[in-house]
């Protein structure tokens, strides 16, 4: 396939939402999800779709070096990856603009590096090609976020409305994207241009889909837009809505052609030619599909059973980790044991220590006696004392947890030290932080720079 893939991997500073998880040593792309960098999920998926020419765009020099080092070791001989550095704070559209000259293929697949999904990008690319679209966006069901027990994921809480991320308008066949609202506008009343409805006759408005940040673009159109609209920073908020809006504009050129036919024939009908009675006449296809000059925006809608999340907040980080070792375990690439967990053979468990289902214990980690780990990820070479409880949490590498600590719903980054009987609930602990013994923290964000103050 003549596709070039651009993976927007972000950097270290781009996401304040992920503070304190992201640090200089761990750029966003390398955040571990079930002990694998999040970027690996996107790359593996691309490899599975046989899309092997990649440009990975990283913000910031240092981050780029880290990503480059990891990619070249992990994907040596598997993918042809070029890691490109762009300056920080350009936004997704800005990053694309910066590498615009490197784009040569007819179609460009843009993937966000924080996407964890099992929707094959190849399927999106194929749809894009089949429709000859200017842009094809992957839409997936809005995830029900929030810490939920495994039980509640099956019996979903009806009262809880999923957050609305996008409002999209689709045509009858659900292939064409006619309307998109994103950003803050989604909480406002929906305004749809009448002409659009008139042109298609019927439009489906859905608020339960989200833009997954995986797009296939026609290169020429993408480059034109990036060139003409220099102010655009975001693909999701600006470029895509612009393309969706402007497909209406191109309709008249080709659209009037069909309009002539349609009205011409209807004039004949009402002039009394009863032979072609129009009660059941075939409605002329909409102007959208017929026009030659204009572009089309298409949508690839992932079925509900597909997993599709973006790692762009702490909440989503927790959710994705939980899901990847839980209900979406096929994504992790590991094979789970009969107890539905993975315990690396090199890890050491004390007596009466239990590792529940949906857990991962990576190599070289040690646990003392009478520990209990439930639905959690524990990284490499962690040293965990006795009587430690870890529930619904992510513990990264080289973490030291002393006796009697309780960790619940928290994220503990690399090289953190938890002294005795520390209690964490819904906390994020930044790399290298030392939690003093006996302290209790609830819903806090603990990072080193604060402790140094």
């Amino acid at each position: 396939m003549d596709f070039q893939v651009v993976v927007l991997a972000g950097g270290t500073s781009d996401s304040e939402k992920l503070c304190p998880l992201v640090s200089k040593d761990v750029p966003k792309a390398l955040l571990p999800v079930a002990n694998r960098p999040v970027l690996s999920y996107a790359l593996d998926l691309l490899e599975a779709s046989d899309l092997k020419d990649l440009i990975v765009v990283v913000e910031g020099q240092e981050a780029a070096q880290l990503v480059d080092a990891w990619v070249s070791s992990a994907y040596l001989d598997r993918l042809r990856v070029e890691v490109v550095v762009v300056s920080e704070d350009l936004g997704s559209a800005g990053a694309l603009r910066a590498i615009s000259k490197r784009l040569t293929a007819n179609d460009i697949l843009v993937v966000s590096g924080d996407l964890v999904t099992d929707v094959l990008p190849g399927a999106v690319a194929a749809t894009h090609r089949r429709n000859g679209a200017a842009v094809t966006a992957l839409l997936c069901s809005v995830p029900v976020s929030g810490p939920s027990d495994t039980a509640s994921s099956s019996g979903k809480d009806k009262a809880k409305k999923p957050t609305r991320l996008n409002i999209v308008g689709l045509d009858k066949s659900k292939q064409f994207l006619l309307h998109i609202v994103s950003g803050t506008d989604v909480e406002k009343d929906v305004q749809v241009h009448k002409r659009k409805i008139q042109a298609v006759g019927q439009m489906e408005i859905r608020s339960d889909l989200m833009d997954a940040h995986l797009y296939a673009f026609k290169r020429t159109i993408l480059q034109d837009v990036l060139e003409q609209k220099e102010a655009y920073r975001s693909i999701r908020l600006e470029v895509l809505p612009y393309l969706v809006r402007s497909q209406l504009r191109s309709a008249p050129s080709g659209g009037s052609g069909t309009a002539v036919d349609e009205t011409g024939s209807s004039a004949v009908q009402s002039s009394g030619n009863l032979q072609c009675l129009s009660q059941h006449r075939v409605i002329a296809p909409s102007a959208f599909k017929q026009d030659g000059g204009g572009h089309r925006c298409c949508a690839y809608i992932a079925t509900k059973s597909k997993y599709c999340h973006r790692l762009n907040s702490i909440q989503s980080y927790c959710d994705i980790n939980r899901d990847v070792i839980g209900e979406a375990s096929h994504l992790s690439g590991y094979s789970f044991s009969a107890q539905n967990n993975i315990i690396h053979p090199s890890s050491v468990l004390g007596s009466k220590t239990t590792i529940g289902p949906h857990c991962i214990l990576a190599e070289g980690s040690q646990l003392g006696d009478k520990c209990s780990v439930k639905r959690s990820v524990i990284g490499r070479h962690c040293r965990i004392g006795s009587n430690v409880k870890i529930v619904n949490s992510v513990v990264m590498n080289h973490v030291v947890i002393e006796d009697g600590c309780h960790i619940q719903g928290s994220v503990v980054c690399n090289n953190v030290q938890l002294q005795e009987r520390a209690v964490l609930k819904d906390c994020q602990v930044g790399a290298g932080y030392i939690v003093t013994g006996g302290s209790e923290h609830k819903a806090e964000s603990l990072a080193r720079k604060y402790s140094e103050l």
Partner: protein, 737 residues
């Protein structure tokens, strides 16, 4: 008299129904129908001045016949025909056609319900409710609907839904029909509608009729999306105006006495109201026919559908077999009665209907037309796409195209009726006269004092208009000068452009520009071309709006304009109220009440009120004064003296007093410059009368210090006064110390 009769009958029906209920509780109440034999619009004027719309013949049969036949075939056991205008004609027809007297199993009992003061469908339903004749679910339909759909599915859906959710009060029948992109209207000449429907439950979430081109956007409330993550926006659906209603619908109309229109008020009212939570559902018609004859274009379209047998079994040869005259279907969709006198050289084209006892002369051509009974058509007549009703005389060499010609019309030799004309009953057209396109001619004069609101325009026209002399005063329509001509004169006006016996109506309600939309005539090519250009122009402007991108930005600018508009409207109303008070009509307390009411209605601040009242007072002074400044000063002093209590009522805080000063300033600068030389004189006066306090004046002066020079004019003028105030204040302070 007639009133009494129908009431008696209605009661009888009700008693019978309840009797059934006692006998067998399991048996559902009989299916009832409410048929509105009045459309409460003026679309079919001038014909409807003389005959109710439901009795107008559609391919030889009155429209109501189609509706009643369908209701009966759909299993309706009891139908109430609500008649208003020309009610005696409707009732007479029901008697004559044998509907009224029917009873027994398998047939439908038809009862006329009469009211003379109903002016809308809402009124009609309130009358029906008062009669207490409806006991269960009923079909609501207007008497101009042609259908052959099966009601079973829709009814079943309605019942099932109601069992689950008693708030589902109505099921609307809709059908697919894509309006033309250019004209934005359906094949039936209706305006396009936009509906939002839940694709799962088919609940109606949004309804907008009337293509309002000023609204470029369809706005869907955010709450709707919260409750329904998926919804379908339809522009390709047509409302059939066949509704299955629960009895609650009637009480809803009674509770909301301001509901008039079924869609614009009732449906929208229910959709907006989320307190009661009533729901409306839709049923999409996938097979079968349903169409409402709402205007001349739909009359044309539905007639052709009937001829083409889409409405089977409601087609001429089947339905008319009950009548004495039998018409037969020939090849190419030509229906001819057996006793038609047809010249061998006359040519009847495809899809035409010719009624009994009609004679057609040599070399005539009839194409795509319906000709009624007992017509006499001369030689060399061309009739194309027209509807000629009964007993029409068309002399030699006439041409009628795409027009409607009512009973008893006489077209003299060589007359030409251009497309889109409507010739009402017994109109005569002189020799060689050309009736220009889209004319409406009637023997009755056009009612002159017509309300602009189409909904309320309805007037009962039974009374006495027929006596008015049709020949004496002829209304002319712009440059199409119509000259009243007696019959013998007609012969002499060889070159006459327009010699018509009857009044030519000007089109008031729709406006000439829109005439083409709903006439029988096809849309002229030029018009389509024009629209196409307009459409592409629109796209141009749309680009701009796209470049401006976010619609909410437009909104905000709009709302600013609105705001100004809003306040000036409010001021105007306050002024009017005040003037009424001046006239002595209202006493002071009531005046305050009224102004407060206005303030609430416009949801404005107290300060706005103060400004507006002050403005009104000053305005009154100005009116009272002569042109010279001396008297103006005097009248102002009088007015302020008289109304100072009123003003004080609104000047409770410094802010409001400030508002008065600012208003005064604004008046002097803009609206009433007469006051500007008097400003420094009036200001101390306001202070003396305690309308404004010194705090307010000083603050005002302070604020103005930093303003532009132009804004400071009045501060400077009253500098002396302000200075005095300041000094007085200081003195006060000193004294206190």
């Amino acid at each position: 008299m007639s009133n009494k009769k129908s009431r008696g009958r209605g009661g009888g029906g009700g008693a019978a129904a309840s009797g059934d209920g006692h006998e067998d509780l399991a048996r559902p109440p009989p299916l009832q129908a409410v048929l509105l034999a009045d459309s409460f619009t003026l679309k079919f004027r001038p014909i409807t001045l003389e005959r109710p719309k439901v009795l107008l013949p559609l391919v030889h049969m009155p429209m109501i016949e189609y509706t009643l036949t369908w209701l009966e075939s759909a299993g309706v056991e009891e139908a109430f025909v609500f008649c208003c205008a020309h009610s005696h004609q409707v009732k007479e027809y029901l008697e004559k056609a044998g509907w009224a007297g029917k009873s027994g199993p398998g047939s439908m009992a038809v009862t006329a319900v009469e009211s003379h003061d109903a002016i809308s469908a809402g009124d009609a339903l309130r009358v029906i409710y008062d009669r207490g004749v409806i006991h269960g679910d009923f079909v609501l339909i207007s008497g101009d609907t042609v259908s052959n759909m099966s009601l079973k599915d829709a009814l079943q859906e309605h019942m099932d839904r109601k069992k689950k959710d008693p708030l589902a009060v109505m099921t609307m029948v809709i059908k697919h029909s894509k309006p033309s992109i250019l004209t934005h209207q359906t094949r039936l000449g209706n305006d396009e509608i936009v509906m939002a429907i839940d694709p799962e439950t088919k609940e109606l979430l949004y309804y907008e009729d009337r293509a309002d081109s000023s609204h470029l956007y369809v706005t869907i409330d955010k709450d709707i999306l919260t409750n329904n993550p998926t919804l379908q926006l339809h522009n390709d659906m047509e409302d059939c105006y066949i509704d299955i209603c629960s009895p609650e619908v009637l009480s809803l109309f009674t509770d909301n006495f301001d509901y008039q229109h079924l869609r614009r008020h009732f449906v929208k009212g229910l959709l907006v109201d989320d307190i009661m939570g009533y729901k409306i559902y839709t049923h999409e018609l996938r097979s079968g026919y349903a169409a409402r004859i709402d205007n001349f274009r739909s009359y044309d379209t539905v007639s052709k559908d009937v001829i083409q047998r889409w409405t089977y079994p409601m087609v001429p040869d089947v339905i008319s077999s009950r009548d004495c005259s039998e018409s037969r279907l020939h090849r190419q969709g030509i229906y001819k009665a057996s006793d038609v006198t047809l010249s061998p050289s006359a040519q009847i084209g495809a899809n035409s209907v010719v009624g009994s006892a009609t004679s057609i002369g040599d070399h005539c051509k009839v194409l795509n037309s319906v000709i009624g009974e007992g017509c006499k058509i001369g030689k060399n007549v061309l009739i194309n796409g027209s509807f000629i009703w009964d007993n029409v005389i068309i002399e030699d060499g006439c041409k009628v195209s795409n027009s409607l010609v009512c009973d008893g019309v006489h077209l003299r030799a060589g007359a030409i009726v251009e497309p889109g004309c409507v010739l009402s009953f017994k109109v005569e057209v002189g020799k060689n006269v050309v009736v220009p396109a889209h004319s409406k001619v009637s023997l009755l004069p056009q009612p002159s004092n017509e309300d602009s609101d189409e909904e309320l325009e309805y007037a009962d026209t039974n009374s006495g208009i027929t006596d008015s002399p049709p020949f004496s005063s002829m209304r002319s329509n712009g440059d199409q000068a119509t000259v009243p001509l007696e019959e013998d004169e007609l012969g002499t006006s060889e070159a006459g452009t327009c010699g018509v016996v009857g009044y030519v109506w000007t089109s008031v309600d729709t406006g000439i520009v829109e005439e083409w939309r709903q006439s029988i005539a096809p849309i002229p090519k030029e018009k389509l071309e024009e629209l196409r250009h307009a459409a592409s122009d629109d796209d141009g402007s749309e680009d701009e709006s796209n470049n401006r991108t976010l619609p909410d930005k437009d909104d905000s600018s709009d709302s600013v304009v609105d705001d100004d508009d809003h306040i000036s409207k409010f001021e105007k109303e306050v002024e009017e109220t005040f003037q009424r008070a001046l006239g002595g009509g209202v006493n002071r307390d009531n005046l305050i009440l009224e102004i407060n009411g206005l303030r609430l209605a416009y949801s404005l601040q107290h300060a706005d009120c103060a400004g507006a009242v002050f403005y009104s007072v000053m305005k009154s002074a100005l009116v009272a004064a002569q042109s010279t400044n001396d008297t103006l000063l005097k009248t102002t002093a009088d007015a302020l003296g008289k109304w100072k209590d009123l003003l004080r009522n609104y000047t409770k805080t410094v802010d409001e007093e400030m508002e008065i000063l600012l208003k005064f300033e604004e008046m002097c600068q803009e609206t009433t410059k007469e006051f500007s030389p008097l400003f420094p004189t009036i200001l101390p006066y306001l202070y003396d009368r305690e309308v404004v306090s010194e705090d307010a004046i000083l603050r005002w002066a302070e604020e103005k210090e930093h303003a532009d020079e132009s804004d400071k004019v009045f501060v400077k003028q009253s500098e002396a006064f302000i200075k005095w105030l300041k000094e007085a204040e200081e003195e006060d302070d000193e004294e206190e110390e």
